[in-house]
């Protein structure tokens, strides 16, 4: 409770309000401080008082054989995950709790969510309300069942103050290309910082997967906790609604040149990794793949296998994996040489086979963090480009949407 009150002071709240759920990110091991903290909670006899899901941990508890690092680190990571379960949290171990039917808050629900991509999705796509909570605060809110009445819990703070219009020079085909969305998110994060922005000009009813990609990237390049997309997100049926009838503080256009530059920056491999560049790894599912995205991997593979020596790994939630097992999809993916990772992510856990060649991803967030976290060179592309490149063993580029590369 002391931490919740501290949070209220920082956020300038005058009172606390009750929450219905929490999503806790503190279960990922970052050193002994993370264990020291949860031990303090356990010694105090704490238990969560609202339904609480857990974010990814340090390792895949269902497939521990995938761990290739120091066994002691795995043991500490597992201990932390177990400690959070003992506080009454559900062992969901996913960064995409919004893809689990039982964990999805309804429109307008007040919740305390951590994990930057989940925060953005919760506010923007579900219209449920959370501030940008981090480790320690998340579990403190889950135990007290309360949050400060401040920030994005309040209607006025959810108003867009920045309008970003997609430029007229964007080819229509680009709006239909999956790889636009993480790139757009990177630009949104840079331009918005911690402000609420509204994207105008996207196709109406843009899919949850695409909105997820925008949010995850925007929360990596900026401190975005919420955005609107006119015609797609629930608090933006119109531009005026996103602005809550007021004037924006800033209006700007996002043109093709800015998007192309942001897309190029996501690739760190030497020379920009043109088509034909050999790759060693393809990592998909950051944030965790939805069932629909797992189906898309199967569709794009069309029965082919990754090239010899190329690892194709998809991270997902254990809950989503269970659904994929049920419909036979997981078995078919494994039979074509796809590795499925749950409970963690391939830029956190040492699970990828060491390779001197670059790793390809469809995730803006993975492209952002993997080079620093696990020391790989990254090539960014759409899901289709990633899967075909895995099959070819070399970067394959879709000639369409972005033009010549």
């Amino acid at each position: 409770m002391r931490l919740v009150v501290r949070a209220a002071e920082v956020l300038g709240a005058e009172r606390l309000i009750p929450i219905t759920r929490a999503h806790v990110d503190s279960c990922l091991y970052h050193g002994e401080a993370t264990i020291d903290f949860v031990r303090r909670l356990i010694e105090g006899g704490a238990q969560v008082t609202v339904p609480t899901t857990l974010n990814v941990g340090a390792l895949d508890l269902l497939h521990p054989e995938l761990w290739q690092g120091d066994p002691r680190a795995a043991e500490r990571g597992r201990l932390l995950m177990d400690h959070y379960r003992s506080l009454g949290c559900q062992p969901t171990y996913t960064c995409a709790p919004y893809q689990l039917a039982a964990a999805r808050p309804a429109f307008g629900e007040q919740v305390a969510w951590a994990e930057s991509n989940a925060i953005v999705f919760c506010n923007s796509v579900l219209g449920a309300r959370t501030e940008r909570y981090g480790d320690f605060t998340d579990i403190a809110c889950a135990i007290s069942g309360r949050v400060p009445d401040a920030g994005l819990h309040r209607t006025d703070a959810r108003r867009a103050t920045l309008v970003l219009r997609l430029g007229p020079d964007l080819p229509p085909a680009l709006l239909e290309d999956d790889s636009l969305y993480p790139v757009l998110g990177i630009v949104l994060g840079r331009r918005a910082g911690s402000r609420v922005g509204v994207l105008d000009g996207l196709p109406s009813r843009t899919s949850e997967e695409r909105l997820k990609a925008v949010g995850a990237a925007a929360a990596s390049s900026g401190a975005v906790a919420m955005f609107h997309a006119v015609g797609s997100t629930p608090e933006a049926p119109t531009l005026e609604a996103a602005l809550q009838g007021r004037e924006p503080e800033e209006e700007a256009q996002i043109g093709l040149a800015e998007l192309r530059a942001a897309r190029a920056e996501l690739t760190t491999a030497p020379g920009g990794a043109p088509a034909g560049t050999p790759i060693g790894t393809v990592s998909l599912g950051t944030p965790h793949a939805s069932l629909e995205e797992l189906r898309a991997v199967e569709r794009e593979l069309a029965g082919a296998r990754p090239a010899p020596g190329v690892e194709l790994l998809v991270s997902t939630a254990r809950g989503t994996l269970a659904e994929a097992e049920e419909e036979g999809l997981a078995g078919r993916l494994r039979a074509t040489g796809v590795e499925l990772l749950v409970d963690t992510c391939s830029y956190i856990a040492p699970v990828l086979r060491p390779s001197p060649l670059p790793a390809m991803t469809d995730s803006g967030k993975w492209a952002f963090y993997a080079p620093g976290n696990i020391g790989v060179e990254v090539v960014f592309g759409s899901l289709r480009e990633c899967v075909r490149s895995a099959v070819d063993g070399r970067v394959w580029r879709d000639a369409g949407a972005w033009g010549a590369t």
Partner: protein, 134 residues
């Protein structure tokens, strides 16, 4: 200068003015204090013992843990001066104090005042958000 206290404490150190926002998770290694974000212009610099000056914040909600762990391991900055409030860093400092009794002041200054702090300048932070440069 007097700022708004997000975490109280006393510290002295040399200013490290970040040229771009940095997420502590994925941005610094708490076991060495080095900046590891490959896209950050100050890649490889050490934050340990420095007064970290950040105009804007960004990134991961794990940054609270990274800050607390950096304090435990002895590689944390001496203080953090911000141009906007940030709950994630404030709580990381609060937890480090609670667990280890080590205070790391986090102070929010008006952006215009924050910009007057030159990189490499000696900075002292006093109780109640008092910031002195030089």
């Amino acid at each position: 200068m007097r700022g708004r206290v997000l975490a109280d404490g006393i510290a002295n150190g040399t200013a490290l003015v970040l040229e771009q926002p940095l997420s502590l998770w994925g941005g610094i290694d708490p076991a060495t204090g080095s900046i590891i974000d490959v896209r950050h212009p100050q890649l490889g610099r050490s934050v340990t013992g420095r007064v970290l000056v950040m105009g804007a914040v960004r990134g991961s909600s794990s940054s609270s843990s990274i800050l607390a762990e950096a304090v435990r391991a002895g590689f944390a900055p001496a203080a953090i001066l911000l141009g906007e409030p940030d709950l994630i860093l404030a709580v990381g400092a609060a937890v480090a104090e609670e667990l280890y009794g080590i205070r790391l002041p986090v102070v929010q200054l008006p952006p215009a005042e924050l910009k007057t702090i030159p990189d490499g300048a000696p900075v002292s932070v006093g109780e109640g958000g008092e910031v002195t440069v030089g």
